[in-house]
């Protein structure tokens, strides 16, 4: 099951690269991305939106962290339907990794599937250590704390 889930996420990632850089995420995909068992390597799932002034800061920090740590996987989820400017912003900040965006389901349902304890504040960052550990952090993240949560 673990391998299947991992392959599914890998497939989603490939899809993200192929389909205009973004995947419109549904509830089951959201639950899969949020499942610690699905991540066998240190992984960051960064939730952001165009309307969030603090997200840019986080995305730049995470992009740099990923560049300096080849083991680290970085995924982004725009908590809104994707607009052209979203790709431009991620490109400008050199944010690598699969890109997801909210699909057509109710935003509340997608948010709940991603993180039931999350109340909508942005940025929200899910940190997986690759061994079943998961930490959810709201706001601008502290690099040292992020490294610790990721086991880097």
């Amino acid at each position: 099951m673990r391998i299947v889930t991992f392959l599914l996420i890998g497939g989603l990632a490939f899809g993200a690269a192929a389909a205009e850089h973004f995947v419109a995420m549904d509830r089951s995909q959201a639950a899969m991305l949020a499942d610690p068992k699905a991540h066998t390597a240190p992984t960051v799932v960064a939730l952001w939106s165009m309307d969030c002034a603090y997200c840019k800061k986080n995305l730049a920090l995470l992009a740099a962290l990923a560049r300096g740590n080849p083991r680290l996987r970085l995924m982004t989820i725009a908590t809104e339907p994707v607009v052209e400017a979203a790709a431009e912003l991620l490109d400008r900040l050199a944010v690598a990794g699969p890109r997801y965006a909210y699909g057509n389901e109710a935003p509340e349902a997608l948010a709940h599937a991603l993180d039931a304890r999350w109340r909508g504040e942005l940025p929200r960052t899910l940190l997986f250590d690759g061994h079943g550990g998961r930490v959810g952090v709201s706001g601008v993240i502290d690099e040292a704390a992020a490294r610790q949560a990721l086991g880097l």
Binding site: A24, A106, R119, G120, E121, P123
Partner: protein
């Protein structure tokens, strides 16, 4: 007749079944020859979502207010226009809409953004909205005044500052002396500080006052430095009728609590007062603004979202000078976007709450000075939902909720 044209000509789109119900109701109303003074509606897409390629943005942001004659009026975005709907039965059925801005322009109506509606002292309807501009986070505050016969005068921009920066998240109210007051989040001070290489915490709150029922506005004035960037601003008439604003403020160093300020008769803002004390330290956008209502005895009833002891909750409390009385969380862990209203010595709160499958509309009526609570479950919706609002009419409470599935609806709190 106009209703009938609207009902039969508008295509029904998949994914908005509630609108079909509304259309059917309109057709029934038309058959009953319900008179309307509104002009002909134009063909516009059904409410809920604007489509952008394969995905859709939820733009359900709507507002409602009771007119002096007791009819419920609601404003909602359709494409690049604000539409005004009217209901004679407090939000069960609606007549054909009226276009507020004849010339289309971009309109914000997602999350904390929405068109607003109020009635001027002469009974004329006022509608405001934020018009986003090309630059990221930029916008200007627009206001249109009803011109009779279902028409509106061309919208004006409320503020004098014309720079392409943030003027967004406006709130609209009419004070007891008839002044029309608009307050909004404004980044001119942040921009100036950034240009000078200085730090500036959060953004600022500005307000403009109109002494002629919203036809023109005096130059805007700063109410507060250091407001939070993107939470809605609550407005209410204080016990003496003066405009009172309640918003999320970034206190040093980064505590996102709330503040209060009133506007004097000359439009000058009073000193900013800290109003909540949860000490939520975070550099983030909560996207979750507060609500405020002032009771007949002058008690300031508030609802707000904050984090305490690591847990984000929606709270109710009474704002006393320098303290909060009776603070308590509303609903369960998923309670969100509460609103509050007061009618005489009764107070009501409404909020929405996602239960894992559906979003529930829940409410409480508080009586006997807070000693008695009456909990209500008003509705549940399976799709995307807007934030609910609470209204009063002749001492009765009504929740107003725009959902993708059910459309615009009013719910009596009985």
């Amino acid at each position: 007749m106009l209703d009938n044209i609207e009902a039969t000509a508008r295509p029904r789109r998949r994914g908005t079944p509630g609108w079909g119900t509304l259309l059917a109701r309109r057709a029934v109303l038309a058959a009953m020859a319900v008179a309307t003074t509104f002009a002909a509606a134009v063909e516009l897409p059904p409410p809920g979502r604007s489509h952008d390629g394969a995905t859709a943005r939820s733009e359900l942001g709507a507002s409602a207010a009771f007119a002096p004659d007791g009819t419920l009026h609601a404003v909602v975005k359709r494409g690049e226009q604000v539409l005004l709907y009217r209901s004679a039965d407090a939000g069960t059925s609606w007549g054909a809409p009226v276009v507020v801005n004849a010339t289309p322009e971009p309109i914000s109506a997602d999350g904390e953004n929405r068109p607003k509606i109020a009635f001027a002292a002469d009974g004329v309807v006022l509608v405001s909205w934020t018009r986003p501009l090309a630059r990221r986070f930029s916008g200007e505050i627009r206001l249109a005044r009803g011109a009779g016969d279902g028409h509106f005068a061309a919208p004006i921009t409320v503020h004098r500052d014309q720079s392409e920066i943030t003027h967004r998240f406006e709130s609209l109210m009419v004070a007891s002396d008839g002044r029309v007051v608009v307050a909004w989040i404004d980044k001119r001070d942040l921009e100036a500080a950034t240009a000078a290489g200085q730090d500036y915490r959060g953004t600022a709150l500005y307000a403009a006052v109109s002494g002629d029922g919203g036809r023109t506005f005096q130059p805007e004035r700063k109410v507060a430095d250091h407001s939070c960037e993107c939470c809605r601003i609550a407005a209410a008439a204080d016990a003496d009728g003066t405009p009172l604003f309640f918003w999320r403020q970034v206190f040093e160093a980064n505590e996102r609590d709330h503040a209060l300020a009133s506007l004097g008769p000359d439009g000058a803002p009073a000193a900013v007062e800290r109003a909540t004390f949860d000490h939520w330290r975070i550099d983030a956008c909560p996207h979750h603004g507060p609500g405020l209502a002032v009771g007949a005895d002058g008690t300031r009833h508030a609802v707000w979202f904050s984090e305490r002891d690591g847990e984000g909750r929606v709270f109710y409390g009474r704002l006393r000078s320098g303290a909060v009385e009776g603070q308590r969380p509303l609903g369960g862990e998923g309670a969100a976007h509460a609103d509050v209203a007061a009618a005489g010595d009764r107070v009501a709160v409404v909020w929405k709450e996602f239960d894992g499958e559906r979003t529930r509309l829940r409410a409480e009526i508080v009586e006997d000075g807070g000693r008695r609570f009456h909990a209500l479950e008003l509705a549940a919706s399976a799709g995307a939902t807007d934030q609910p609002r609470l209204l009063t009419r002749n001492g009765d409470f009504f929740a107003f909720w725009h959902t993708e599935a059910e459309g615009l609806r009013g719910y009596a709190l009985n």
